[in-house]
């Protein structure tokens, strides 16, 4: 088994609200290995984005983080000082955000924004930084990269901008690349190209790619492992084939029924839906958070639910 790049044990993120403490992430454990793509799936508000922001140390103001363990390539992030975290961010761990239209600075050139990471982390001088930026822009499929260096974000299309954002994140060859719904804001025709690029870069640079998405189609295409999140918890986690072929948690099964499968789903059939709503996470949450929507719920579901596992995956359910 390959080297562990990122390990999270029982991560929690609590956000104080007027109504009380919102337990947005409740004991999430994840492991991402070098040369592997881990997809974190779940619906909006399940805590998947907050999980990645917690790793980066970029949680919104007021949010409280707790964890048993949080390690980046063997380094304890829980003990890292703010300045140590700054040194790791952009260098050992990098992040790609959802909307490429807004996450590039409108008043700085592409080249300036790309090279500043490299220069700040002391990877080399300006010339080397520019060379690396041009090489990476070419690698992410931007034609005439040398000429693009002096351009501003508004001169590029959304798809090109996301490629720039990806190249920018790779300037220092991070151990872990966190991508938060990197294709959600893009046209469907551009999405596939970006995903294939991310998967290829992950293999070439032998990094751990943690891709947050709500799109199971994306997961099926590029994931090695998948973690399914629901209401701030990982409810099922394992090798992508195991989770897709033999989903064990009722929520995962519900999700699978929501997507059409080529050759299996007959034309004209209604796709599945999961009845009910995501639970309210303000205040104490006990037992399985999915029990209110679960067709198999039983009285014991109100008690703490143990994690069960087989050779290929683990799930948090009594079934």
């Amino acid at each position: 088994m390959s080297e562990i790049a990122l390990e999270l044990r029982r991560l929690t993120v609590d956000i104080p609200t007027d109504a009380g403490m919102l337990h947005a992430v409740r004991g999430v454990s994840l492991t991402a290995r070098r040369g592997e793509t881990l997809c974190v799936v779940g619906e909006s508000g399940c805590g998947k984005s907050l999980t990645t922001l917690a790793v980066m140390g970029l949680l919104p103001e007021g949010a409280k983080r707790g964890a048993e363990r949080m390690e980046l390539a063997g380094e304890n992030l829980l003990k890292a000082s703010p300045s140590r975290l700054r040194a790791l961010r952009g260098d050992r761990m990098a992040m790609i955000f959802q909307d490429p239209m807004t996450c590039l600075n409108p008043s700085l050139t592409i080249g300036d924004q790309m090279t500043e990471t490299f220069l700040h982390h002391g990877k080399g001088r300006r010339r080397a930084a520019l060379d690396r930026a041009v090489a990476l822009l070419e690698r992410v499929g931007i034609a005439g990269a040398a000429g693009r260096i002096g351009q501003y974000p508004h001169q590029l299309s959304g798809g090109l901008r996301q490629r720039v954002v990806i190249a920018m994140a790779l300037m220092c060859e991070p151990d872990v690349l966190l991508a938060d719904e990197p294709t959600t804001a893009l046209d469907a025709t551009v999405q596939l190209g970006i995903l294939q690029l991310l998967a290829a870069l992950q293999r070439e640079m032998h990094m751990a790619l943690v891709l947050v998405t709500h799109d199971l189609g994306i997961v099926a295409r590029i994931a090695d492992r998948v973690a399914v999140m629901y209401a701030g918890e990982v409810v099922e986690e394992g090798a992508v084939r195991a989770v897709f072929d033999t989903p064990r948690h009722p929520y995962t099964r519900g999700l699978m029924q929501c997507i059409p499968q080529p050759g299996i789903t007959a034309p004209g059939t209604r796709l599945g839906t999961i009845p009910g709503l995501v639970p309210y996470l303000v205040g104490e949450v006990a037992g399985c958070a999915f029990r209110g929507r679960c067709p198999h719920a039983m009285p014991a579901c109100a008690l703490p639910v143990p994690v069960r596992e087989d050779a290929a995956h683990a799930w948090r359910c009594l079934l």
Binding site: M56, L58, L85, R86, A87, L88, R89, G90, D91, A94, M95, F97, D99, T102, C103, L104, N105, P106, S107, L108, T109, E116, T117, H120, H121, Y152, H154, Q155, V165, M168
Partner: protein
């Protein structure tokens, strides 16, 4: 960028011409100049003589054309009161006003931008409220009153600084403080609003995700995007200061443009008033052009737009 600059410059010339025409016409419609000049007891013949002497009997368009051509050569005519030419009168006083305005703007920017940034960083804390209180105080206090307080405290009680005259740079400290203080609140509030908006932007989160130092994030990534409206407003404020603050110049006995304008208006010295109007209007035109260019330099989207 060059194309943008040329387009803006052409626009500035057009605006300058329009403004000169308005400046000229405003004075003509303010009453019969010949009658005013001749005095109250003048006979009709005398008024007509003066009308002919100053060329006021010719069509307005001819008068304007002649005045414009002469103005372009730097000849703004003669004062009706002083022995000097209008151009010399203005040029003599311009350095005082320009020094005062430049220092005043420097005071305003040095106070408002750091205060606005700090208020945005600590928004809704006591620091933010203190900055707001200062802003309210600054805007609520009449500038002559603040100037008098400065004179009383620094000039008389402490005796640190001269309170009147234009001998040296020290003479400009108190007037510049009084002038700058008055522009600070609005510039500060604008800086704060801009920073609050920009600090919430996705690209600031990106900058943090790169591990950049807080200072780099604040200055390079945030402030640059937040100051565009501040630049625009500051240029207008600078225009106000350059056109001469009658109040501040009077309180500190500074022989500047504002004081001259006020004097000349009360004496119906119309060539001087006209000259000052033209010069001040041209200041605004130039400053607007400079602000446009500065903003285009700050924000590349404006350049191509």
């Amino acid at each position: 960028m060059l194309g943008f600059a040329l387009r803006r410059a052409a626009l500035a010339v057009a605006v300058g011409l329009a403004v000169s025409a308005i400046a000229f016409l405003l004075l003509r419609v303010s009453g019969d100049l010949a009658a005013t000049l001749a005095g109250e007891e003048a006979s009709a013949a005398e008024i007509e003589r003066i009308r002919g002497l100053y060329g006021l009997d010719r069509p307005v368009i001819v008068q304007y054309g002649e005045w414009l051509l002469r103005s372009l050569r730097g000849d703004l005519g003669r004062s009706l009161f002083y022995p000097e030419s209008v151009a010399k009168l203005i040029l003599d006083r311009l350095p005082n006003t320009a020094t005062l305005a430049t220092l005043g703007l420097a005071v305003a920017l040095l106070l408002s931008i750091p205060l606005g940034v700090v208020a945005a960083l600590f928004r809704n804390t006591w620091i933010d409220r203190l900055a707001l209180a200062l802003a309210v105080l600054g805007q609520a206090m009449p500038s002559f009153w603040f100037a008098l307080l400065l004179i009383f405290f620094f000039g008389i009680t402490l005796g640190w600084l001269p309170v009147s005259g234009t001998e040296g740079l020290a003479n400009f400290v108190l007037p510049a403080l009084a002038l700058g203080w008055f522009s600070t609140p609005v510039l500060m509030r604008l800086t704060r609003a801009g920073m609050v908006e920009v600090l919430a932007a996705d690209y600031i989160r990106t900058a943090h995700a790169k591990g950049l130092p807080v200072r780099t994030v604040l200055v390079k990534h945030a402030l640059r995007n937040a100051v565009a409206p501040v630049v625009a407003l500051a240029s207008v404020q600078f225009g106000n200061m350059l056109s001469g603050s009658v109040v501040i110049e009077t309180v500190f006995a500074l022989q500047g443009i504002g004081y001259l304008a006020w004097e000349s208006i009360s004496r119906r010295d119309f060539p001087v008033v006209q000259g000052i109007l033209l010069v001040v209007a041209l200041f605004y035109v130039v400053l607007t052009l400079v602000a446009d260019l500065l903003n285009a330099w700050l924000d590349p989207r404006i350049r191509s737009g």
